[in-house]
Structure formats: structure tokens, C-alpha cells
Symmetry: C2
Subunit: 339 residues, 2 copies
DNA sequence: TTGAAAGCGGTACCAG
DNA sequence: CTGGTACCGCTTTCAA
């Protein structure tokens, strides 16, 4: 493991010059900089992490806390972890994983041991215990998700309310007067922060627009297909002409399958819109209009905020809600009775 | 952030005594140890990570490299990451994530910067580029999975060969003379290390037992349901009396659905065995015999080997294959024509 | 533009 | 059983 003094000797300069040449915190003449860079490359030098943490005030590590509850949707979750890691690396940061109980206990530990420069919080619950923890430690913390009590916190997330409003407006504008929402599993509405946001905004906006509405959960993992088909059937029988879906791909397919089995066409007989889907709705049996939930638009700013929290212009606490975008795939049309 | 000298003062002892009391590397009288522990608890002391890394020879961090290819099965993968993190914490270790390109580049980086004590490798490909990397760095590396060229490497994995043999033997012993295997997606047989192991062992063992056999892949993610039903249909029409399945839950359900649709009962008409499933086959439409692929039996020993690699009795390179276990759920019976 | 040297906060050796 | 202290390898201030 080559050290900085070896680089200094090889380049014929002092240790401090090597350090400054690498950090760029002090001007170094092009000539010496060249020699140093060559020595670094030839020796394969890479500064000792521990020494850098101790001497500098930066560890170049972010913690990522994720309880990984049993009901979290693995593919979605993985894409958020991945996006966070990639964004962190772009800023020269590594990601330290804190899972399960460590998601909370570890937060306190890495904060008081100075192992990380900042903490990113995933898998946020409405009454997340990491909220109180974040307030009690000096380590900057950024939530990817919005807990109920977010006073004084830095949060980044898709604007789920706006997404639901956008979807309702779309079908309302098309003339629909009775619509339905098929949501996630029952437990998601208690343990996760965004399903209730979508549901409430859906109901509020529909009411505002004078549109009658129904809501159904999509059942637990084991029963989701069957429960979804039943929910779809009951919406159809209630006379809805448009269905919004806020769920995983298999639920979408179950909705479409039930409609198809009943001889109903999309969007001819029923309009369908996918709200905050984290998969490609173009790959479904039928392409479906979607307001996607993508990891990058949330994770990139979250990492950016974490980085900026370490700089002099530390960002103010507050909500950073990412505006939703609507993608038209042709699954919405005016209802039959209004054409 | 409280430091060791504050603890020492509070306890009325020297810095070194505090250090030894916490590390246990030198006997400390019960009385002083008490005082120190109380001071630690009261002040909420936790040793500075950077200082510990620099002074000690341990960073207390393991790297976990996982390319996270697009075809990796998220739920399975997540359970392995989780099991690894939990096992690491049991040994006072944190996990640093290295994903995508960083899975390889980061390996070299964390090795030469001394950021981690050891590296755990997930998502192993047959011709994994991390094999050469592992050989070129001094940092101990443990593979969870077995690459084709594993000379001189430390690898831990389920004994997939033995699992396939166990499954073939089970149905062969029951009297089946024509059997089928429905495997994973085509791409898995090129990019992943274990699907080919299962397939080859299946074919070899069936031949040894004088059992005729067929093999089918289960199609890509988008087409897996349809492809699986077709594969199942073609096996049935070829006259197989037992089907082994090495795939995800949705493929299992597709197999069972096709059999049911054809009026075939399990195990009355067709026996079914699940090989190396990483989900609960008891939750399927029909309970199915299984040789499970669990994360803990592989991840726990892998972390253990990583820890021991740092001790004087460094383990020898070699394969650590975890013996498979067969769980009977009543989905295997003798074939009709032999009863 | 460059160098010397004082820490950063622990660990572990050498004494007592 | 306990204390003093020389490092660990880098960052950054102070001086030149």
C-alpha cells in the first residue's frame, strides 16, 4: 500500500505539495503537478482512507438506512438503492448500508463515531423513528420520502399529491364522472409514507372536480392477483368508466386481465392510468398512460443536498417535491356515454 | 463528538486503560472497567472511526460488490444483501456497497485505500472479471457463488450440483423414467454461475440413473409466463411424469396453472420438485417439494471466512459448498403407469 | 509556489 | 494492573 511520502519522493517534492496537488486546495505549478500526477499513476497511489478521515474533516462516506421491511417491493427498492449509490459515486462518495434494526441503531452509531459525513434515509414510514434520531444527531440527514412529522427535516420525494391530481384531472378532463383507484396492499397504508398521500389526494381532487370515486386496496402479496380482480370487478359493476392504478406490475396485469375477460376494451370501454409506477407500463399486456416514479429524480437531488449540507451554504430544511410528469400511451379516452 | 480522553478523565484513568478496557486486549480490574463502562455509557462515547482505522489495523468495514445486472432477481438478491449485512454486524462489521461499474473499479479502489478489511462478492458470473481483480489485491476476498475459474479463491455457495442430484434421485427413486427440468431465462445461463451448474448436474445424474430427460428455459422476464406454459405443455406432451423447476415463483405458478388447465393433478398425474427456490414453495397454489436456496447458510459462513481471513489462522482458499436439504411437501408420487 | 511541522484520535509497545 | 507516549498517514496552518 503506497503512501503519500513515497509519491512525494518520487516526484521530488514535499508531502504537502502532493496533498495540495491532489486536493486542488492550493495552486500548484503545472510542472510539479505533472510530476506528481505521473508518480501517483505509476505507483498506483490512493490516499489511506483512515488517515484522510482523521486529518481531513470528511469521511467520503454516506450512510444509507433502509429497514427493508418484509412488505417492501424489492425491485423498486433496489432501483432506489442503485440510483443513490451511483449518484453518491458521482460525488466521490461511498455508501454504507444500514439495514433492519441497524437502520436506526446504526444511525446513532455512525453519527457518533464520525464514520459518515451524512445520512440518506430510504423506506420512510409515516411515523418513522428515524425522524427523532435525525433531529438528535449533528450528522446531516436527508429523507427520500416524507414522514408525517417532517418539521425541520430535509426531504426529497416525488410529489405524489400532484401526481394523483394530474391523473384525476386527466380523466376528469376527458369527461369521466365516476372513477376508481386501485391502490397497494392494506399494510402499505400503515407502514409506508406515500400510498396514503396518493389516496388522499385522489379523493380530495375527485371531490373538487365533482367526480364520484371509489377506492380499493389490492390485497397482500399472496392474494393480490385475486383481490385485484375482485376490486376491478366491483369497480366495473359500480359503473366506473376510468380506473387509476397505484401498484406493482402484477396488479396492473390483473386489472387488465379482468377487463379483458369481461370483454371490456381499453380505452374504448374503460380508461386506465397508472400512478407512480416504478416499472415500464409500456411492457404491460396493453400500454397504459403513466405518471412514473423514477429513482433518479429523487435520489440525485437527495445526494446533492447531502453534499451541499457539508458545504458553507448548507441548504435550509424543507420539502423538495419533484413535479410529476404524465406520459400518454393512449389508454385514456372519453367515456362511452359522452361520445 | 466525545473523545477517548474525555472518557479517561471521567473515569479517572489513563487513555490507554480506556482503550484496553474497550478492546479487551489487556486485563483490566473489574473496578476500573466498571467506571470506564459507566463513563462510556454516560458520555455516549463511540471511538472515532478514522482514528481507529489509522491506528489499528482494522477498518471494521467489509465491501460488498454487486454489479446488479438488469436480469438479477431483485427479491432473491435483496435477501442475500440483507443476510450478509446482518451477519457482518454480528461481527461488528459494516457493509460498504459497490454497485455497477464500481463493483470492479471500486474493488481496486477500496483495496488500495485500505477502506475495507475484506471484500464479499455477490452476483458472481461464470467468467467474472472480479476473479482476476481478487487475485491482484492483498485484501481478502470471499465469493458468494462459484465462478468457472476459482483456482486459489475462497468461495461459498449452495451445492447446486448436489441439489440437482437430490431432486433427480428423488423422482428416480419414485419410479419416474422420463423427467423434465424447467430452468431460468436464457440469459441466466450465460451471465450467472449457478443455473448452468443445476442444468449440467441434472442431465448428468438423470443419465447415470438411466432416466430420460428434457430441458427448457423459462423465457425472459416479459415472456416468462407464456414461455413457461409452453415449456410445460411440451414436456407433458413428450410424456414426462415429473417436472423439476429451477426458477422464480411466477414460473412455478405458471407450471402449476398449465398442469391444472390440462386437468392434470399433482402428484397424481405429474410430480413436481422445486430446485434451489429462494421463496416459500408452501405459498404456491399447490405446496411443492423443495430444496431451498436460503441466504443465511451461504452468507453466514462467507462473513465468517472474511473475518477469519484477518486472523492468524487465515483459511485456505477453496470451495465451501453448502449441502442441500430436501423438504417433502407431498408433490412427488410414483408415476401412474407404475402403480 | 513550496516546505516544515503540528495535529486529527486512537492503538499498542515499553515501563513501572 | 496501569500509565506514558511513539506512531498510524494525511490535512492544513504557518513561514519562507
Amino acid at each position: 500500500m503506497v503512501k503519500i511520502n513515497e509519491v512525494a519522493e518520487a516526484a521530488g517534492v514535499s508531502i504537502s505539495t502532493v496533498s495540495y496537488a491532489l486536493s486542488g486546495k492550493r495552486p500548484v505549478s503545472p510542472a510539479t503537478r505533472q510530476r506528481i500526477e505521473r508518480a501517483v499513476a505509476e505507483l498506483g497511489y490512493s490516499p489511506n482512507a483512515g488517515a484522510r478521515m482523521l486529518a481531513g474533516s470528511r469521511t467520503h462516506i454516506f450512510a444509507l438506512t433502509e429497514p427493508l421491511r418484509r412488505d417492501t417491493h424489492a425491485p423498486t427498492h433496489m432501483s432506489f438503492v442503485l440510483a443513490t449509490a451511483v449518484a453518491a459515486r458521482r460525488n466521490e462518495y461511498d455508501i454504507l448500508l444500514l439495514t433492519e434494526e441497524e437502520a436506526s441503531a446504526g444511525m446513532a452509531r455512525v453519527a457518533s463515531s464520525g464514520l459518515v459525513d451524512a445520512i440518506l434515509v430510504l423506506d420512510v414510514a409515516p411515523d418513522d423513528e428515524r425522524v427523532a434520531l435525525a433531529r438528535s444527531i449533528p450528522t446531516p440527514t436527508v429523507f427520500i420520502g416524507v414522514p408525517d412529522d417532517h418539521e425541520g427535516l430535509l426531504c426529497v420525494d416525488l410529489d405524489f399529491d400532484a401526481a394523483a391530481v394530474l391523473a384525476v384531472d386527466r380523466v376528469a378532463d376527458a369527461g369521466h364522472r365516476l372513477i376508481g383507484l386501485i391502490g397497494q396492499s392494506q399494510v402499505s397504508y400503515e407502514k409506508s409514507n406515500f400510498p396514503p398521500r396518493v389516496r388522499r389526494a385522489f379523493e380530495r381532487r375527485a371531490t373538487e372536480r365533482g367526480v364520484a370515486h371509489h377506492f380499493h386496496v389490492s390485497g397482500d402479496r399472496a392474494t393480490s392477483i385475486q383481490a385485484t380482480r375482485e376490486a376491478t370487478a366491483s369497480l366495473v359493476e359500480a359503473g366506473v368508466t376510468a380506473i387509476l392504478v397505484h401498484a406493482a406490475d402484477d396488479v396492473h396485469n390483473a386489472v387488465l386481465a379482468e377487463l379483458t375477460d369481461r370483454g371490456l376494451s381499453v380505452p374504448g370501454d374503460i380508461s386506465v392510468v397508472s400512478v407512480a409506477a416504478s416499472f415500464d407500463t409500456g411492457a404491460l399486456a396493453l400500454p397504459v398512460d403513466v405518471i412514473p416514479l423514477l429513482p433518479e429524480p429523487s435520489c440525485d437531488p437527495a445526494v446533492d443536498l447531502a453534499v451541499r449540507s457539508l458545504s458553507p451554504d448548507r441548504p435550509e430544511p424543507g420539502l423538495h417535491l419533484i413535479p410529476p410528469v404524465y406520459y400518454d400511451r393512449g389508454s385514456v379516452a372519453p367515456p362511452r356515454d359522452r361520445r
